[in-house]
């Protein structure tokens, strides 16, 4: 029993919290429930919580604020539950330090899959480097700018080049882990956590598509380097805004 991970579920809506809590319990987690930020803090103080599932929209102190304070205190993973609004895309880039987010109404199975992925990353001895806490909405490297809020890449001429979902996630994985060798499995893990449909292109295909967009010569790449036997490395310094 002690191997069951202990989750904290924070949502002000009992209609969601209660059935979701029992679903998560059935899926093999220990679950504590909190209806607001104050209750959540109490539970966090008195229990060894391993992951927090947090609703963004709550009366009183909202989810983002609680998330930020959890992040300031430690490395506990957080998954945000958010409505698909115009802000959603921006939330991703906000300095809130969440590890992942799901859009309401979400599939409970998918939520469980995400929780497992994150717990594996956090507890599995670092098989995949964790995405650094706190995203950004702009990443700049070598004259290029990647905008996380509308998935566009712009070159020195400042004309935006929209990226496909797969290309964006791959590039985002690179810019958040610059100058680190990422294996194909790690890249898959970083890019495929989010939605149910799998990308049937291989990572290698995606890499060559991305290199074309970045005008990176595939035979002598300067940005996305192939590491023999190891995977790929993003060979540029990235500044975030």
């Amino acid at each position: 029993m002690s191997t069951r991970p202990h989750l904290l579920l924070v949502d002000d809506e009992a209609a969601i919290r209660e059935p979701l809590g029992s679903y998560l319990q059935r899926s093999g987690f220990r679950v504590s429930e909190a209806a607001n930020a104050a209750e959540a803090r109490k539970i966090l103080a008195g229990n060894a919580i391993e992951l927090v599932v947090l609703d963004v929209m709550m009366p009183g102190e909202d989810g983002l604020s609680l998330c930020r304070s959890i992040r300031e205190q430690g490395e506990m993973p957080v998954i945000l539950l958010t409505a698909r609004t115009e802000e959603t895309d921006r939330i991703v880039g906000l300095e809130m330090g969440a590890d992942d987010y799901v859009l309401k109404p979400f599939s409970p199975r998918e939520l469980v899959a995400r929780i497992k992925t994150i717990l594996r990353r956090a507890g599995g001895g670092g098989t995949t480097p964790r995405e650094t806490a706190g995203g950004a909405s702009l990443y700049r490297f070598e004259g290029w700018t990647l905008r996380a809020d509308d998935w566009t890449l712009s070159g020195p001429d400042e004309v935006a080049i929209p990226l496909s979902t797969a290309d964006f996630r791959l590039l985002q994985a690179f810019v958040t882990h610059p100058r680190q060798v990422l294996s194909r499995d790690q890249l898959l893990d970083l890019t495929q956590g989010r939605e149910a449909h799998a990308f049937d292109r291989s990572i290698d295909n995606q890499i060559s598509r991305l290199r074309r967009k970045l005008e990176d010569d595939a035979r002598a790449p300067s940005l996305i380097k192939t590491v023999w036997g190891g995977g790929y490395m993003f060979a540029a310094d990235v500044t975030r805004e």
């Binding site: 809506e13 209609a15 969601i16 059935p19 979701l20 679903y23 929209m57 539950l81 409505a83 698909r84 609004t85 115009e86 895309d89 309401k104 109404p105 979400f106 599939s107 409970p108 199975r109 509308d150 998935w151 566009t152 712009s154 400042e158 004309v159 935006a160 080049i161 929209p162 990226l163 496909s164 979902t165 797969a166 290309d167 449909h197 990308f199 049937d200 292109r201 598509r209 967009k213």
Partner: protein, 450 residues
């Protein structure tokens, strides 16, 4: 044409100035006509009087004139039995005036004739233009013949100065002077009147845009100021209504999502697999519908400025997404075409078009071409197309082809309405037409960045 355009100004200031200037010109014309007539009337008297006086002096026995004067008067008179030849132009007005003068003096002539002889080649012009060079004007000879008895005509020649007033110069100078007095303040005033109206016009064109119209400065005369005040109040009301709409949509979105999420979570506990899958599909369809309604309501309300975007790369990215999901999409080779848009909105529009083409037409073929200053993104399919008379209707919200209302194709009927709303918010155009070779062609055209 340009002259006519200039003569018929379109602005408030121009029209006011034109009307006032025309009225002023008319007033000047009337006043100078009166002035000229008075001058002329006086001149007729001046021309007639000397002759009348001489004849009276010569004839009146009661006149206690000195003999020298009387002699001179008599000598200058010509006496004849017939009407002597008239020298110069007949001047009936002078004759009539002389007749009046004789009658005033108690003499009743049987007939009076007068003639005016002007120096050659200078008939009327000098009288009107006056002398620019300051020379004394040539004098005019006036002949006055009076029939005192049936066979006795008395004729006298006198001279008179022409009307020497430089009327034309005076007209010009005076008119310019009046124009200066009236029109300069008028120009200033109409500009003062027009400025707030122009500000109001430019503000009105921005009512309802995401950034909203700026408040109009409340300046100018009271009635114009009142208009500006009323406009600002209206603008505030519109802004608060739009904010209320956004707020309400957000609240509806949130409030409907909560029960939907609760349903979605509970659906997972339904033991029967088929029932559970159907419930989940229904919930997802409700969710899509909610998303579509919210996006349609929010089209064009993006507060971020548009960016320069390569439309070819945008189409490639959207197509890559469909390919990655294993959907039947094809593309033509696309050349770079830079447009100034909100990339997420255009991508949403293109995604809707590709989804429709795949759903109703079996597959989507996307191409991009440049036609003069526009980039045209086309999505073609091989489906049955749409009857010509229903194409316009299909662009209305919640309209679907009858045949597609079945469960399996789903759809909210908002996809094309969203595309059209996005096209108009991004200064583009959207049209649907049936292809000659079968299938539907959807075209989204956007202005290229020059």
């Amino acid at each position: 044409m340009a002259l006519i355009g200039w003569m018929r100004p379109r602005t408030l200031a121009g029209q006011t100035i034109l009307v006032v200037a025309a009225s002023l010109a008319l007033v000047q014309l009337i006043s100078f006509s009166l002035y000229y007539l008075t001058q002329r009337n006086q001149w007729i008297t001046v021309a007639a009087a000397p002759g009348v006086i001489r004849i009276l002096e010569a004839l009146d026995p009661r006149e206690p004139a000195n003999p020298f004067q009387r002699n001179r008067a008599v000598r200058s008179l010509g006496v004849s039995t017939e009407l002597p030849p008239m020298r110069g132009d007949d001047a009936p007005e002078i004759a009539a005036r002389a007749d009046e003068l004789f009658r005033t003096a108690g003499l009743v002539p049987l007939e009076v004739r007068a003639a005016v002889d002007e120096p050659q080649g200078r008939r009327r012009l000098p009288r009107i233009l006056g002398r620019a060079n300051g020379q004394s004007p040539p004098r005019i000879q006036v002949q006055l013949s009076v029939k005192l008895k049936p066979d006795r005509w008395v004729t006298v020649f006198t001279r008179a100065a022409p009307i020497a007033q430089p009327i034309f110069q005076r007209v010009v100078v005076q008119t310019l002077f009046f124009y200066g007095i009236v029109l300069i303040p008028l120009v200033w005033f109409t500009r003062r009147l027009a400025a707030p109206l122009r500000a109001l016009t430019s503000a009105t064109t921005r009512v309802g845009t995401p950034e909203g119209a700026p408040p109009v400065p409340e300046i100018g005369p009271d009635d114009v100021r009142g208009l500006a005040t009323a406009f600002n109040a209206m603008q505030d009301r519109i802004r608060s209504m739009l904010e209320e709409k956004d707020h309400m949509l957000g609240a509806i979105g949130h409030d409907l999502r909560t029960p939907l999420t609760a349903l979605r979570v509970r659906a997972e506990s339904v033991p029967d697999d088929r029932d559970r899958e159907r419930m989940v599909a229904t919930i997802e369809e409700m969710q899509r519908m909610l998303d579509d309604i919210l996006s349609l309501a929010r089209v064009g309300r993006d507060r971020e400025p548009p960016q320069r975007v390569d439309l070819a790369a945008l189409a490639d990215a959207a197509l890559d997404d469909f390919e990655d999901m294993g959907m039947p999409v094809e593309r033509s080779e696309m050349q770079r075409a830079v447009v100034n848009v909100h990339p997420r909105a255009i991508r949403r529009a293109l995604t809707n078009l590709i989804e429709n083409a795949v759903k109703y037409g079996g597959q989507a073929h996307v191409s991009l071409r440049v036609d003069r200053d526009r980039a045209i993104l086309s999505v073609a399919d091989n489906g049955p197309g749409i009857p010509e008379d229903r194409i316009e209707e299909m662009l209305q919200p919640f309209t679907r082809m009858e045949s597609s209302r079945s469960r399996d194709t789903g759809g909210t009927g908002l996809g094309l309405a969203i595309v059209r709303a996005i096209a108009s918010a991004e200064a583009g155009q959207f049209q649907l037409r049936n292809r000659a070779e079968g299938g539907l062609l959807a075209e989204l055209s956007l202005p290229l960045v020059p």
